[in-house]
Symmetry: C2
Subunit: 354 residues, 2 copies
Amino acid sequence: PYMKKHNFFAGPAILPAPVLEQAAAAVSDFEGMGLSILEISHRSPQFVAVLNEAEALVRELLGVSDDFAVLFLTGGASSQFFVSAMNLLNEDQTAGYIDTGAWSAKAIKEAKNFGGVNVLASSKDGNYNYIPENIEIPSGLQYVHLTANNTIFGTQFAEFPETDAPLVADMSSEIFSRRLPMEKFGLIYAGAQKNMGPAGVTLAIVRKDLLGKVKRTLPTMLDYRTHIAKQSSFNTPPVFPIYVSMLTMRWVKAQGGVEAMEKHNADKAQLLYDEIDRNPKFRGTVANKASRSLMNVTFEPVDEADAQPFLDACEAAGCVGVKGHRSVGGFRASIYNSMPKSSVQALVDVMKSF
Amino acid sequence: PYMKKHNFFAGPAILPAPVLEQAAAAVSDFEGMGLSILEISHRSPQFVAVLNEAEALVRELLGVSDDFAVLFLTGGASSQFFVSAMNLLNEDQTAGYIDTGAWSAKAIKEAKNFGGVNVLASSKDGNYNYIPENIEIPSGLQYVHLTANNTIFGTQFAEFPETDAPLVADMSSEIFSRRLPMEKFGLIYAGAQKNMGPAGVTLAIVRKDLLGKVKRTLPTMLDYRTHIAKQSSFNTPPVFPIYVSMLTMRWVKAQGGVEAMEKHNADKAQLLYDEIDRNPKFRGTVANKASRSLMNVTFEPVDEADAQPFLDACEAAGCVGVKGHRSVGGFRASIYNSMPKSSVQALVDVMKSF
Ligand SMILES: Cc1ncc(COP(=O)(O)O)c(C=O)c1O
Ligand SMILES: Cc1ncc(COP(=O)(O)O)c(C=O)c1O
Ligand SMILES: [Mg+2]
Ligand SMILES: [Mg+2]
Ligand SMILES: [Mg+2]
Ligand SMILES: [Mg+2]
C-alpha cells in the first residue's frame, strides 16, 4: 500500500517485510485471542510460548549449548558495557579490552569502575579504520572484550583472537550474520535493533559457570542469575520487541539459518565493495580488506564536493540512511541480514550512474 | 475484524482501541515514510518529534514544571527500585519507606544496598489489605518512598502523606489516573505496561535539584543525569513502546485529561465495588473503603467453591484476566484508564447472573 524504501539505516534498521506484516497483524489481534499482543500478560501461555521459541531459536541458529543461558534483557548494549564487568570482574582482577572505536571505548570506560582494564590493542592511531592483528594476549585475564563489528567505522573481526580467557563480545551489529565458534565465548551481547529485531530488547548469551564469582552485591535486576532463574521474566519483559525478534529469527531460520545469512551477506557486501573499488568517484574508508565489515559498509567521495549531491541522488532513488556517522563523515550503507540484494543493487546503480 | 475481549489483565493491560489501530498502521508504514516505525532511526526527525510530544504530554497531563525532568527509560519499575536509591541516597543517609506489599518490599530490599532504610509503616499484619494511616514521619529523611497503588493487593493511597521530605512514588499501576500534587514529589516512576502503554518503557519524572549529590560513582546508564542531558536518547530508546505510550497519552488528553480520567475511573470503580458489596456471593478483600484501589479491584467468593465456576462464567462472557494474583487468591479486575465502563458493566452482569 506504500512505496517501500531501501533502508540503509544503521539501527534501528531494516526488518524483513513478512516480519513487519505479521507484527502489524499481532498488534491488531494476537493469534485469534481477541486481544492485541500489546495488551496481553507476559505470563499468558501465548507469550510464554513466544519467549520459549525465541530462546530455542537463538540456541538453534548459533549452536548454543546448555552451558550457556540465553537472556532477553533491556537497557541496550550500552547497559551491558557495565553489567558485563559488574557480573564478571572483581576489583582485584583484570580484563583485557580491544579498542576498535567508540563502542569499545565506552565499554572500557564502564569496566574501569569494577576492576582492572588492560587495553590490549587499539586502532585509535588510524581513527579506527582497521582491526588490530596478531594481538599479544597475556594469560591470567578474566576475559577479553571486543566489539565484533564496529557499526560506526565499518570494521569487523574476520577471525576472533586466540586467548585462554573467554571472549566477551558486543555483537550488536552482527548477531546472526555468521556462524560463531561458541567455545571461545563467555558472553555475547547485542542490542536487538540492528540484526535481530526492533529497539527495546537486548540479547545476552552467557556461560553460566562464569557467574556468581564476584564479591560485590549486585542489584537484583543487574545480576544475570536473576534473569536465568526466571527465564527472562523476573519482571515484565519487553513483550513486543521480543515477539518481533522471535519472528525475525524464524525468518533467518527459514532462509537457511546463519550459514545462509553468511553467504547472502558476503555476496551483498562484495557487490557494494566492488563498486566502491571500481568507481573512481568513491573510495572505502577502511584501511585493509580484511578489516572491512560485511554489515556496515563505509565509504567516501574522492571529491568532497560530491558528498551532498550523492546523498540527494540516493534519496531520489529511495535509498535512505546512507549518510555516514558524524564521527567519520562520508557514507555508510548498513546491509544487515534483512537487506535484500536488490536494495544493495539499487544503491550500486545510483553509484554507477552518478 | 476480531471478537474483542473485555481485558481485565493487571499488566501488560488494556490499551485504547484507537491507539491499537494507529499502532498497527505505524508498524506497516509510519507517517507515509515508506518505512515501518520498527525500522527507523531513533535520531530521525520523525521519531524525535514523537519523543518531544511524549514529554510534552507528560508535562501537560500531570502539570509537571521545568523543575522536573521527564525521562523514558527501560528496565521496568523493578530497576527503579534500586536506581532511585542509587541516585538519591548516600551510605550515611536514611530514606523512609512505607510497606504496602510485595512491590514496596522489593523497593526496600534494593535500597538497603545504598543507604539507611527506615520502614515508617507497614500493613503486613493484615496481609497488606489496607493503607497505613496517620503515619508519623520523622524529619531528616532523604526521601519517603511509597507504592501509590498496589496492583496485587488492590490498595491505593487516597491521599499522600504529609512530610518535609520529597516523596518517591512507584506509580506503575496508576500513572495518569488522577491529578497529582506535584509539589510533594521528588521522583515518580512507572513501568508503562499498565496505564501508559505497552511493556518496554519506564517513565521517570525526577526533580533535577535532587541529583548529583551522592558520592558513589554511577554507571553512565544508571545516572538520571545522563538521560536528562540527552533527552532519553543517550543510547537507543525503545522506539515503539514510546510511540504507543505517546499515542495513549494523546488519547487521555482527548478524553479530557487526567481530571476526566479521575471521574471516569471513580465511576467505573463504584459500579464494581457496589456490586461486590451488594451481591451476597462476593466480598471485597480490602479492609476499608478508604484503602480501596480504583485501578485494581480485588474481591473473593464468599463460598470458596464458587471460585472456578465464576472464572469460567467470566471467560464465557469474554471477560479475561479476572483471576487474582497467586499471593492473594480470589479475583482481581484491573480497570485502568483505557477500560470502558461497558466492560466493567459486562463483568457486573456476570456477577449479577451468577
Ligand atoms: C556495536 C554497538 N555497540 C553498542 C551500541 C549501543 O547500543 P544500545 O543503543 O542498544 O545501547 C551500538 C549501537 O548503537 C552498537 O552499534
Ligand atoms: C506497583 C508495581 N510496581 C512495580 C512493578 C514491576 O514493574 P516492572 O515489571 O515494570 O519491573 C509492578 C508490576 O508488575 C507493579 O504493579
Ligand atoms: Mg568499538
Ligand atoms: Mg573507488
Ligand atoms: Mg507495594
Ligand atoms: Mg457482597
